[in-house]
Subunit: 129 residues, 4 copies
């Protein structure tokens, strides 16, 4: 909890992360490397690291009940790396990621009406096509 | 701008997206499909679709000045798909993504002190290793 | 079986696929689009399509006993797409993929001596690091 | 050149790599870890490592004229890692990769007749969709 009484995670906005990433790059003179395709490939690299965590585990139950604290911490870091590059890529492309995400949730709701869909989301019924 | 005077994107928190994704799955009885590795592979699928947008374009300048509105809209949708599955995967794994991301930004700042780093972030100096 | 008595798949060399991809691009004047990073992103796109096949299935047994013929055919196409772009990327980068692969198998055998390794290949004991 | 007078890379078949990977796993008792989705995630991990090589480089010319020998060697290893897991994944799924790849080249030739296609392979004209 912060001093404002709001739990920290609830207050983490995509805009805050965007600003932090922009400052981080500026302070290190890294803007020169942050082109769209450079950032996209960096994102793919992080998705690879995320996948490596899960690669030899077989099916993993929700909540990761058998994982050690250090494994969960590592997972949190890789998930974050993907997020941070995604936020930065969106910013560099001039895309408002938060706005786009809310819009996409709305589009998905139209595409998959709750009252009609109860089956498996397959290739034809993919929520995020 | 919303009636509160806060622009919509500034108020989009990771927690809000997490709740929307959880509701969406629940309303469609899709929780049964949202295992960690299913969601991870869905995320990889969306990263693939994001990459396809950039695949034949050669280097792309920041801000995508030459892209049509519909191309930017499509890009926003694919960026969102990656984000939404990332948020959902984190939730299903019991990881607080916003908290983890802020922590990772802090770790990166320690690993790459602004006063010392001015060179290219390569394999050894990778901000998000 | 071909008339030579050698089954077709046994005779499919990486060099043959390289030549076929080079001809294919030349005949369509596509060499101009086949830069290393364009091909890499195309490869990532195909890996995404491959992942989509497996994304909602949960754990899948070896040999895919329950898959329909058309599903296996689709899988074969996506595996092939990844292979074909990998072969083309290697060629455009001036890398002899067959030679590199044999060398890597040898390096792996040194890194993981058969007599000593019986445990799970984890992050530290990863055969293909 | 081998003693047979055939250059080594020309004789590297997908079938040879399949056999080598199968032996490698058997000798280390790793068959138990080589399920389809485990191998797929391992493949994604290697694609990530491949992408990391290219991530901060901007556009890269064909043939990689400015790359050091050790960089090209590293690239060859990562390309090989992707190939080896792809070969292994295909084998475990019961897919004849060489046969499937030749078939896919044929399908692509039908989809994109050489006489008609001279434009950029975009989302609609994607050689490997």
């Amino acid at each position: 909890m912060t001093t404002s009484g709001v739990s920290e995670d609830e207050s983490v906005t995509l805009d805050l992360l965007k600003k932090k990433m922009a400052e981080f790059a500026k302070e290190r003179d890294w803007d020169q490397f942050h082109s769209p395709r450079n950032l996209l490939l960096a994102l793919v690299g992080e998705v690879g690291e995320l996948s490596e965590i899960f690669q030899w585990k077989g099916e993993v139950p929700k909540g990761l009940p058998d994982w050690k604290d250090e494994e969960k911490e590592h997972l949190g870091e890789e998930l974050s790396d993907v997020l941070l590059y995604l936020v930065r890529l969106s910013d560099i492309c001039g895309i408002d990621l938060g706005k786009a995400a809310l819009r996409k949730v709305g589009l998905n709701a139209i595409k998959y009406p709750a009252s009609k869909i109860q089956s498996q989301p397959n290739d034809d019924h993919n929520v995020n096509n």
